[in-house]
């Protein structure tokens, strides 16, 4: 991995047509500007992770959902029971 030090308003070039410029540095983050061809996809990494996370969660089998619900209901009852036991 290449690590570079850049100051405000300095840029780096990636290939012939991508330019990344540092606009602002602050303690809570930096602002950067990216010039790149339209066909290059640029997204925040968390967004890509968030999309993947959602896609892995869609529409589980109804049987597993029902058993999950039943298990959580049992858990809630147990928790309520132990809490009332403590308060006595």
């Amino acid at each position: 991995m290449l690590v570079l030090r850049r100051k405000k308003n300095e840029s780096i070039l990636i290939g012939n047509d991508i330019r990344i410029t540092i606009l602002e540095c602050a303690s809570d983050g930096i602002r950067i500007a990216i010039d790149a061809p339209k066909q290059i996809s640029i997204i925040r990494e968390e967004l890509s992770q968030a999309e993947l996370a959602n896609k892995s969660a869609i529409s589980p089998a109804s049987s597993s959902v029902r058993s999950f619900q039943a298990a959580m209901a049992r858990h809630t009852q147990n928790t309520d029971a132990s809490m009332s036991a403590q308060s006595e």
Partner: protein, 159 residues
């Protein structure tokens, strides 16, 4: 209106029952209306978010307070403004759950809750920045009563 669901068959609903996500959920920007379905009357810990625009798409969500009462998401001012809320505490939160064979192995995404204003029935999915919440926390790290680990360390996270 009616929708066919895997879980209940035909379900009748009114437009007022829906929650509107102007930007959809991450990865599903075109699906903007979801019908929250309680799996069991009176139990609000597990809620199915059913898309009404695509019956094949639904998400199992959980009220994080039901297993992790210390969950304290903090939204950015622009997110609060989209949801017409003054404070993060005024909103309802639901976290998406990935189902595994053993329910204790289910994972919950604490980093990207669905945030809903119950008054306006509008919602958005957010990415909580700068938090220690991850995309995959094992449910067993919260609900196991014997566990010392309440999940607020990174032990249950694989981010």
């Amino acid at each position: 209106m009616t929708i066919h669901t895997d879980y209940y068959g035909e379900v009748e609903y009114e437009k007022e029952d829906l929650v509107f996500f102007a930007d959809g959920l991450f990865g599903f920007p075109e699906l903007r209306y979801y019908l929250p379905l309680y799996l069991e009357d009176g139990d609000e810990s597990v809620i199915l978010m059913q898309s009404t625009e695509n019956p094949d798409i639904s998400f199992v969500t959980m009220n994080p307070m039901s297993f992790y009462p210390d969950y304290q998401p903090c939204l950015k001012p622009e997110e609060l403004s989209i949801l017409s809320a003054q404070d993060s505490g005024d909103l309802s939160y639901y976290v998406i759950c990935v189902m595994k064979e053993d329910y204790l192995d289910n994972t919950v995404n604490l980093k990207c809750p669905l945030v809903i204003n119950p008054g306006t029935r509008t919602g958005m999915q957010v990415i909580l920045e700068g938090s220690h919440y991850g995309f995959q926390h094992r449910l067993g790290s919260f609900v196991n009563a014997d566990s010392e680990n309440r999940g607020d360390t990174d032990a249950g996270s694989t981010t």
